[in-house]
């Protein structure tokens, strides 16, 4: 049903239930707002969106419309102005946004706001992109009737945590920040305290403002009250240039805008001043997580490599590109088919393509370090074109298995939470409780490491092989299976928690078969999504790289030379150094001198994402472009170019001129990418809500997307029949199954080199169930000794009732060299 009304004399037709403020916006009329935000429920607090509303008069007795002399419906205007953000449109209304009375009303509101506002625009970070400033220009009077001495004086620099600072004088009490935390992300860690003009935002958490999404509040705060620790007093908005990018930290692929400025601190060259969300309603809407926002500082770390190095007399010394490449080429040439390339999903498609081509030309292999299977199945069973978590509704279901999305892919977590609140059936299956459980309709628990069993149980109950009957699980699993059966569309997110490579392989198959059972493979909002450990792991699979199922040591057995790009296997596990030490040539290409690089014969300095053009393929298989934001660090080159330069020395023809040209080759050679071009990826279309326009007050300071929404690849479809695999046998026996669990703030090189989030990095500790702690006779504080495969390690420990019986947890990438779940013996550590 639609409703027609006139706004300032122009007729508009909008769906029934549309808020008046949105209806006006769709017609191109900006009703000023402060507290209203199109992503949140209206609260009607700031009262600035005042308009005059005339409604058709009705006869009280008959209910019929009254007519005026000329036979038109008689329109009656109430005595008071009304708030356009809280009222849904009505048929035949006449709304006046620009009438004298409405403007006067808004003027008064702005004047009241300014009485208690410090008006320190000249030193305010929001100055230049501030709705209050703009409205004051538009509506305010030139002169103040309020005595300056009566102004309230409050704290100007109040840290809500180490990331977000509050200027209490500037706060206009619109509650956008508190409502965002409560309503959108479910972390109500900030709130109002006191009342009246003394009302102030406080934090309730320790550490302060403890939420992975805190930075978004600074975008939607309509004034300069909330600022981030890193951009605070960092630059004026009008000095900033912007470049489009994609977040390199997880498979969500959030669209970013990097704001840059030339600075003396960088010899007059560009510096990234802040990372902001760029709107993509199908990917991240207008949000990003704090990792995406704050971790980029590693790109400016003084520890970046600025020159190639080669080993001379046992020592790594600086060398020219020519010398380093020649030395590397010699090593690879000598090894030929005994050369192995090892890379990670941190790289862009262009890099991975060139690497794969080079290794193929040598007759060697290109291996992916990330030990998780399923990329090939995603190519067949991935989500259909048009899939959008924001469009999931009551008839859809989502299964999340063996993943902790809040830690691994925060924006997916956020969007699935919201989908569940809209009525989507959310099924969360894991050996332990995770934060998505709070929003799940079905919570399936399985034993440690038994995700495959649970998936096979779900498959069985959805018409799978009768042989699978033995996996039929408990009541929760059965009702989850029924929910999958009932749903119209089913999306499955699978991860690797508690599984080794073989386990993820079996899990991916089982999940693929579940989607197949629905018969809707290839349709939007149907299919598989892998919760990859890296932003572009899917791209790596697509470019033809594969992990070595038996592990890296197997890939290195018999290798003579290795070319490691964007990976640090020795840093991940110092005990894995031996096979690298045996190689005749080890080439490492990275941003930093990693532990692996320290063993290398040749070290090649690569560029950071902020300096680069290229593409990532997200977990939902959307190919998206990154644009260079700042000039490259002197001495470094993009990975694809280093690989191509190396290739030339080996007489292999690879594209070395420009990233788009590499992509052209991809588009000619890689099946699902056939015919794609950078132009396709740069296409945009109008999005709702509109952000980044002249009226920043509507959506916040998130950037409008002018540089591309990306292209979602179509899955190839089922094809030849797929057979399920039995779960790998894993028994911890008397030992505990030690399961690495992914944490957002790990000890990865990006976080370590960024500083800002240092205090929030997950500590290395063993997490044990309190019962286990008691059984082991551990005292409250202290350490434990864990041992496995003849190795042992001393660790601190902590208690959590979420640890499943028979297991122990450890944060992944926090310093313990374990990537697969492993049975360990835990005992009290003496001393």
């Amino acid at each position: 049903m639609s409703v027609t009304l006139t706004i300032d004399g122009t007729e508009v037709t909008v769906p029934e239930g549309t808020l008046l403020v949105d209806a006006a916006k769709r017609r191109g009329t900006d009703v000023p707002v402060f507290c209203y935000h199109p992503k949140m429920k209206p609260v009607g607090m700031c009262r600035v969106c005042l308009v005059e509303i005339g409604r058709p008069a009705r006869d009280r007795a008959t209910g019929e419309s009254l007519l005026d002399e000329s036979g038109d419906p008689l329109i009656q205007f109430g005595p008071n102005l009304e708030t356009a953000c809280t009222i849904t449109v009505g048929q035949g209304w006449q709304v006046r946004v620009s009438s004298e009375k409405a403007i006067q009303g808004r003027k008064e509101i702005v004047e009241y706001l300014l009485t208690s506002h410090p008006l320190d625009c000249p030193i305010c970070d929001k100055g230049g992109e501030c709705p209050l400033q703009d409205l004051t220009m538009g509506h305010g009077s030139g002169e103040s009737r309020f005595l300056f001495d009566d102004k309230i004086r409050l704290a100007k620099r109040y840290p809500l945590g180490e990331l977000i600072f509050l200027d209490r004088e500037r706060c206009i009490q619109c509650a956008r920040c508190t409502r965002f935390q409560d309503e959108i992300v479910g972390d109500p860690v900030i709130g109002f305290y006191e009342r009246g003009r003394r009302l102030e935002i406080v934090t309730y958490s320790d550490p302060g403002f403890d939420s992975y999404f805190s930075g978004n509040t600074t975008d939607i705060c309509p004034v300069g009250a909330l600022t981030t620790a890193d951009f605070r007093f960092g630059a004026r908005p009008w000095e900033l240039n912007s470049a489009a990018s994609i977040c390199p930290h997880c498979p969500v692929g959030c669209n970013l805008t990097l704001s840059t400025r030339r600075e003396a601190s960088n010899a007059g060259r560009d510096v990234v001043k802040r990372v902001m969300p760029r709107q993509n309603e199908q990917v991240n809407e207008i949000w990003i997580c704090d990792k995406g926002r704050f971790v980029h500082h590693y790109a400016r770390s003084p520890e970046r490599l600025t020159s190639p190095r080669v080993r001379k007399n046992g020592k790594l010394v600086k060398a020219s590109w020519n010398e380093a490449l020649t030395r590397a080429a010699e090593g690879l040439k000598g090894a030929a088919s005994s050369a192995v390339g090892i890379a990670s999903g941190r790289l862009m498609n262009e890099d991975l393509f060139n690497l794969k081509e080079l290794m193929a030309a040598l007759g060697g292999r290109a291996i992916l370090v990330d030990s998780m299977a399923g990329g090939n199945l995603i190519q067949r069973y991935g989500v259909g074109v048009g899939s959008n978590l924001g469009s999931l509704g009551k008839r859809d279901a989502v299964l999340v298995i063996a993943a902790d999305l809040h830690e691994e892919a925060p924006i997916w977590w956020l969007r699935l939470k919201q989908a569940a609140e809209r009525g989507t059936t959310l099924i969360v299956a894991n050996a332990r409780a995770t934060r998505l459980d709070d929003y799940a309709k079905h919570r399936v628990r399985y034993g440690p490491g038994e995700a495959v069993q649970a998936a096979l149980g779900l498959l069985h109950l959805n018409g799978g092989d009768p042989e699978l009957a033995r996996f039929e699980g408990d009541r929760a699993l059965k009702s989850a299976a029924r929910a999958i059966k009932r749903a119209r569309n089913v999306t499955i997110f699978f991860g690797q928690e508690g599984l080794n490579y073989a386990g993820t392989e079996a899990l991916a198959r089982a999940c693929a078969l579940i989607t197949e059972s629905k018969g809707r493979v290839g349709k939007s909002n149907n299919g598989l999504v892998a919760v990859w450990p890296r932003a572009n792991t899917q791209g790596a699979w697509d470019m033809g790289l594969r992990p070595e199922p038996a592990g890296l040591h197997r890939a290195l057995a018999g290798a003579v030379a290795a070319y490691i790009v964007a990976a640090d296997p020795v840093g991940d596990d110092p005990a894995a150094a031996a096979p690298f030490e045996k190689l005749s040539t080890l080439i490492v290409q990275d941003l930093f001198l990693t532990a692996t690089a320290e063993l290398a014969d040749v070290v090649l300095p690569a560029q950071a994402f902020v300096e680069r053009a290229g593409t990532f393929t997200s977990g939902e298989r959307r190919v998206q472009r990154l644009y260079p934001a700042v000039g490259a660090l002197a001495g470094s080159l993009p990975d694809w170019k280093i690989v191509a330069n190396l290739a030339h020395r080996l007489e292999v023809d690879l594209e070395d001129k420009a990233a788009p040209l590499v992509f052209e080759r991809i588009a000619a050679a890689v099946p699902d990418y056939l015919g794609l071009s950078y132009d396709d990826l740069a296409a945009v279309e109008p999005q709702w809500p509109e952000v980044g326009g002249a009226d920043l007050y509507f959506g916040g300071t998130a950037y409008a997307n002018k540089q591309g929404l990306g292209v979602q690849l179509a899955p190839r479809g089922a094809g030849r029949p797929l057979k399920w695999k039995a779960p790998p046998r894993a028994s911890a026996g008397k030992d505990l199954l030690l399961t690495p669990v992914t944490v957002l703030y790990d000890r990865g090189s990006a976080l370590r080199h960024s500083r800002l989030l240092e205090g929030r990095i997950a500590p290395l500790q063993l997490i044990l169930h309190p019962d286990e702690i008691e059984r082991l006779g551990l005292s409250e504080a202290g350490e434990v000794e864990i041992s496995w495969d003849g190795r042992s390690e001393r660790l601190k420990f902590a208690a959590s009732t979420d640890v499943p019986p028979g297991s122990a947890l450890v944060p992944r990438g926090a310093g313990l060299a374990l990537s697969d779940p492993t049975p360990v013996t835990v005992r009290r550590s003496n001393s």
């Binding site: 209206p42 609260v43 009607g44 607090m45 700031c46 009262r47 600035v48 005042l50 005595p79 008071n80 102005l81 809280t86 009303g105 008064e108 509101i109 004047e111 009241y112 706001l113 009485t115 208690s116 009737r145 309020f146 005595l147 009566d150 309230i152 206009i172 009490q173 709130g191 109002f192 305290y193 006191e194 009342r195 009246g196 003009r197 003394r198 009302l199």
Partner: protein, 422 residues
Amino acid sequence: MTEHIVLRHRDIERIDQLEVYLENGGFRAFESIVRKKSPEQVIDIVKKSGLRGRGGAGFPTGVKWSFLTPDVYPRYVVANADESEPGTFKDREIMERNPFQFLEGVAICAYAAQAEVAYIYCRAEFWDLTLELDRKIEQLKEGGLLGKKLFGSDFSLEMYTHLGAGAYICGEETALLESLEGKLGQPRLRPPFPAAEGLYGKPTVVNNVETLTNLPLIIDRGVDWYRKIGTEKSTGTKVFSVSGNIELPGNYELPLGTTFRELIFEHAGGIPNGHAIKAILPAGASAPILPASDEVLDTKMDYESVPEVGSSLGSASIIVIDETVDIAWVESKITDFFEHESCGKCTPCRDGTYWMKHIFERIMDDTAQAHEIDLLHTVGIGIQGKCLCALGDFAALAVTTAVERFRPDFDLHVQGKSSKAA
């Protein structure tokens, strides 16, 4: 007026004891409706009685109950015992001296609303009274008058008291519900009204203590009896809390429609020390101030007549002001009060009361500029009709009407004109 309806303890000694209350027909009304009447019939009786809310707005009680969203359960009933209006002290007397009639009223309301849980939200300062109410509720449970499956029916009822934390705004029904839910007491956007989505999002009736205390006798004695008291549109009695420059301050329960003159001069003993009456605040701080003209004094105190002379009856806390009092001083106090009590949720009230308070500071210092009196008025006008709840309007109206009606009192404070400045 010979007999009290609400302040019945003034007629019957020791009615605050359960056995005395029962001997005097207590809980007869509640038992009879649970046994014999449908909730709809009870709502109908209350509608016909013409009973209107005594909390301030005067909304017809039965009509409010009929707005409960059908078929949505659980439902809640909340007795508004936040009584924070300056000059209002009637609910306290009722709950202290005639508690069982109040509790029976809550029970009747709960049955009509089909709510099985009722809360009594008391202002923080009532903590001793709240403890006493807890004991009374316990007695009712022991006596089988509260609890599961009452009188052999399917209707069960539990009652709980809840203490506020000292905010005037928590008397506003939606702020009260927020507070009851454990949140910061700030009004909600309306609609939805509590009857549609109230406590924890469920249909909820919020009624004032005095409103509820009327119910047992309306049920017991019938609509015709009740309608004979008061006026056609404002039926029944009202407890008028009288304070200020008055010989006999206190609560007076009189039929609605009694004139100001009768209340002030016949019942409350008139103005002390032979002074003349100057002004009346008919609803505590929350309504325009009235000059005590003959027209005003002869106005009937009911929900229709007081607005005709430019104010409203509100909770009927009559503050009497004599000729010795400076109205600018009165209003500066009222503004201090509202500035202190503004919840801060909406801009015009939060910042407007802050602004007015600062202008008043200069007025009371006799350092105001002449134009600041007009500015004060403009600021007040700007607040009106723009706020999220009624508090903002109350705050503004008190000031604007005072400036309009008592301008000379203000002008005396302008720099150079004041007595002090001499």
